[in-house]
């Protein structure tokens, strides 16, 4: 399965995402923000980083890149799209996911191994998890506070569109401890933490078994491969 990773000016984790795709058994395809060419990929990752230096608002300028016209069309046609951190912010700015992401309530940039609870395992990117499963993936952001108006929040909760919730610590003041969302169709998922940084033993978060052995994030990428096989 060919999975595109879009590089924007200021993307940082594009190659990490490519590596995670490769580790999961997929074929990563590097895509460029300035083109209108998705190169026929079957799924798309918008990676983390600080596109355009977070100028204007996080993800706002990247969301209006040339390639985003095609990404939005693809997402609306059911192609799996995963936005990680800045990629999540881009999805929100592109109106593919609701709500907004603002500066962490405590004002600090935060970098930690974060425990998340899986709330929805019926999406293209989460079908390999169990509902209620707790996973650990790195989190690193300064503007990860999820907000939405009451009506939107009620709808998200009611429709099961909260994909992940922070466990133990709410690291940024996100409403309802929301760490990640999915759209109604379940093909678009966005989250602030970084699953691609927990995809290979030796380079992931610490676990009880061994230092840096955590690979919980790999399941995002094996999930989308499974999704492609199931829908083929």
């Amino acid at each position: 399965m060919r999975i595109g990773v879009v590089t924007f000016p200021g993307s940082l984790d594009d190659r990490d995402a490519q590596r995670a795709i490769r580790l999961a058994g997929g074929e990563p395809v590097a895509l460029w923000h300035g083109t209108h060419d998705l190169e026929g990929v079957e799924a798309i990752v918008l990676p983390g980083g600080f596109s355009y230096g977070d100028y204007l608002r996080c993800g706002a300028i990247a969301a209006r890149s040339p390639i985003m016209a095609e990404v939005i069309d693809a997402a609306n046609a059911g192609v799996p799209v995963l936005g990680i951190c800045n990629g999540f912010q881009i999805l929100v700015e592109a109106h593919l996911l609701p709500g907004g992401l603002i500066r962490n309530d405590h004002g600090d940039f935060i970098c930690r191994d974060q425990v998340l609870r899986v709330e929805n395992n019926e999406t293209a990117w989460t079908n390999g998890f169990d509902v209620g499963q707790e996973i650990t993936v790195p989190l690193k952001n300064g503007e990860g506070g999820f907000i939405a108006d009451d009506e939107t929040l009620k709808r998200l909760e009611g429709e099961g569109q909260v994909a992940f919730r922070y466990v133990g610590v709410n690291p940024n003041g996100s409403l309802d401890d929301i760490a990640g969302l999915t759209n109604e169709r379940g093909n678009v998922v966005g989250l602030m933490p970084h699953p691609e940084h927990a995809s290979e033993a030796g380079f992931g978060p610490d676990t009880r078994v061994a230092m840096r052995s955590g690979t919980d994030g790999l399941t995002f990428f094996t999930s989308v491969l499974q999704h492609a096989m199931a829908t083929a």
Partner: protein, 87 residues
């Protein structure tokens, strides 16, 4: 060349951590007459040619669609800046 000024503020009901940090610093400086600070944005759009109604409408649309995010911010004003006197 004429300038259109767009002012955007974080929604009043939202926490503004940046403003809160500045307010905290004011408190530490003993400036107790100022009780709160909110930080917003000011955009100055330089216009090529005259500011017609159409150009102003375009600026308003841009203010709503791109320069602000209605989920977290309000457009406070879109105004034409007074022309600077020739040097």
């Amino acid at each position: 060349m004429p300038t259109i000024v767009v002012e955007v503020m974080p929604k009043a009901e939202l926490l503004d951590p940046a403003g809160k940090a500045v307010a905290g610093a004011l408190g530490r400086l003993g400036k107790s007459e100022f009780t709160a600070v909110r930080i917003g944005k000011r955009f100055e759009l330089t216009v090529d040619g005259e500011v017609t109604d159409a150009v102003l409408a375009e600026a308003r649309a841009l203010a709503d669609d791109m320069l602000s995010n209605a989920v977290i911010e309000d457009v406070v004003s879109v105004t034409v800046a007074p022309a600077e006197s020739a040097a």
